[in-house]
Symmetry: C2
Subunit: 413 residues, 2 copies
């Protein structure tokens, strides 16, 4: 293959149909941000929206804002917008709580719909909170449920008629491996199994077609490719055909059919609203809406196309520039089977990531030895990938990682 | 009793030791805000804090902010501050999720600690989400639990050795009636019953001494007297002696003993952190912290003293000015038995509240016929109470409520 140069990358940027979106974000100078799959960047409109909400709505209209600024409608309105990103109907998605809490709610509902089946199947490498939530719910219910963990390629064999729910994350948080959502859903349905998808690492980076795939339930996070801000509210999806059957486990007042009647008995709202629990987190929802609105302006097919090219470029440049340094690819080579991230294994992974961060290249480390680089196509340029790999080369060549390691601190996916 | 005048109220304001706090809030002109028990007003420092957080932290330091700005420590840090408002240790409170979700988590934990007891006792008039959460959990567990609802004066008789948990809201959201937290906790403990208190309508308006009372668990909301903003994160308290025994029902990754090891098996954090689930809602937490910090500057005994006086003044002025109009007091007369609010019944309650709101007097209606006025002592003046009652007099005298009613819309407590 021809050796690529920085000028090649500049040429790619000059014809990028999504290139103009970069100006819609506030990005710091001197930083290449390859961690938008962990915390998305700040949309340029967020500060104004938040300030207006706080100053004009909370500050001046106070409690009246629930009606006059339709705060009360935010979970549904923003849910309907997210629905357009994931191939769902606007009455099938609601923005609320965290991904973990939403997983809990929907998993409890799904198990209730399959009372005779006691197995939840998932992947051994699924994002830990998904597995923890299952473990906690099994313990809570005390009804002999079992979490069956397998490798991705063992999934087809693991799906039998004792299985109630197949719980999968569409894109693996470490390897970036992408599940075929439609095919897995089909295989599950063939055995009467409900599917519960975690879209945290895929929504906003590619078109998703939940309804075309016949998916049953899904959850996802607001702070990655949706650019909703740190700890943004999450969302959940329940297919219309199931909505009447999924009883809310956390039967909070906002999910009541008539919350402001203050009736003593719980009566779930007929539709997706029943999965609300407490009072909507208005500040977080407002920031999330700005991120989602911005994404809705983009063609997700173009987003996906650029995402694949950015990943391919990174893999090719690492091969070209860093062959000598012992990186082992830990993600699919074929971009069709990959989310919007790449990963490499290296025994000094943690120190290398720290050395890169010190040079302004923000990637991510995932234990035990994974270097992870995410590509948010709305604000990342091809030259950014070049600059990141060039910096990686310098770090390795100069052994910049070979210093007393910083304390191994927390980071948040 | 001597007839009071507006000048009397002005004199009270001029010697109010909390008077200076009013300038620490951004309050709209021409409004008397008697709904701080529903949504607290905007602290003057909140906008700057949020803008700094968004611009400097999210925008510039991006993912690194979890460490360098200690976002990851916010639930614990803010929880420790709230602990000082409610008489708890700094390792006993954490800021997270909504009140409804926290109630769910702690109720599930409490039932697990009393496996042979099947009854949860609460009040018939408890805030509905508390009752709904219990109903939802009972249904979810399917273990034959029962919610026993009684009137406040029947509580002592309802507490027997079949009861697992006594779930009470310290201040009733409609009547404002205040429970004796220590006495009720004592009565419950005498029968081996765990207490779970909802402090939403009391915390921040009076000193609370959870540990002095021996309380077991508590939850509370951040957007009322804590002035944390619409839908602010809530908090939960678990007494230190119970912390190892309360297994998290929602076993999310943030409650793991080592969340960033990404281990496949859930292992709860040893302390209060185990009750975290998803990623902390940073924007909401930042606003909440400003409200809590402001409250921590005030002496809660002075806050309580002023709160009682404001309520007494309101009751006395309504008696003085509005005797002819058929209001029936729906709150305790003795301020020692009352939270920071008063309530009246009137058959035209909804229309009267709407007419008051049109005049800039923001009170609250609670079905079926309750007019509710809350007093947030940090920003409310005695003259505000005068002006509110004067407006009420005008509304009633001119029959300003006797118009085609506005559509009965939602409001949020």
């Amino acid at each position: 293959m021809r050796r690529l140069s920085r000028a090649d990358c500049e040429r790619l940027d000059s014809t990028d149909p999504l290139g103009a979106f970069r100006n819609r974000f506030e990005l710091p100078d001197g930083i290449v941000y390859l961690d938008g799959n962990s915390l998305g960047a700040l949309p340029a409109g967020t500060r104004r929206r938040l300030d207006e909400l706080v100053r004009e709505q909370w500050g001046k209209d106070l409690i009246r804002s629930w009606n006059c600024h339709d705060w009360i409608g935010m979970p549904r309105r923003i849910g309907a917008k997210i629905a357009r990103l994931i191939g769902a109907g606007d009455d099938e998605v609601i923005a609320t709580d965290s991904t973990s809490v939403n997983l809990f709610k929907l998993l409890a509902g799904a198990l209730h719909m399959r009372p005779k089946r006691k197995v939840i199947v998932s992947e051994r490498g699924n994002f830990p909170t998904n597995l923890y939530i299952v473990q906690g719910l099994i313990r809570l219910l005390g009804q002999g449920h079992e979490l069956r963990l397998v490798e991705a390629d063992e999934l087809p064999c693991a799906l039998d008629t004792g299985v109630a729910v197949l719980l999968l994350t569409q894109v693996d948080y470490r390897s970036g491996r992408l599940h075929d959502l439609a095919a897995m859903t089909r295989q599950a349905h063939a055995k009467g199994i409900l599917t519960l998808w975690d879209l945290s690492h895929s929504a906003g980076a590619m078109p998703i077609e939940l309804n075309a795939a016949g998916a049953d339930m899904a959850v996802g996070c607001g702070y990655k490719y949706l650019n909703g801000g740190p700890g943004a509210p999450a969302y959940l999806f329940v297919a219309r055909r199931h909505q009447g059957d999924v009883q809310p486990a956390i039967a909070g007042w906002m999910g009541h059919a008539a919350p402001f009647e203050f009736a003593p008995d719980y009566r779930p709202a007929p539709g997706i609203e029943r999965h609300l629990a407490g009072t909507p987190p208005v500040l977080g929802l407002a920031a999330l809406e700005v991120g989602v609105d911005l994404l809705l302006e983009a063609d997700l097919h173009l987003v996906r196309e650029k995402s694949r090219r950015l990943g391919d470029l990174c893999l090719r440049l690492v091969e070209q520039e860093c062959t000598a340094f012992g990186f082992e690819r830990a993600c699919p080579h074929d971009s069709a089977q990959r989310g919007s991230q790449v990963a490499f294994r290296h025994p000094r992974g943690y120190a290398i990531i720290q050395a890169l961060i010190a040079k302004g290249i923000i990637g991510d480390f995932r234990a035990p030895d994974i270097l992870r680089f995410g590509f948010a196509p709305l604000y990342l340029r091809y030259v950014d990938v070049w600059d990141a790999v060039a910096a990686l080369h310098r770090v390795m060549h100069n052994k910049a990682w070979d210093r007393p390691e910083l304390e191994h601190k927390t980071t948040v996916t």
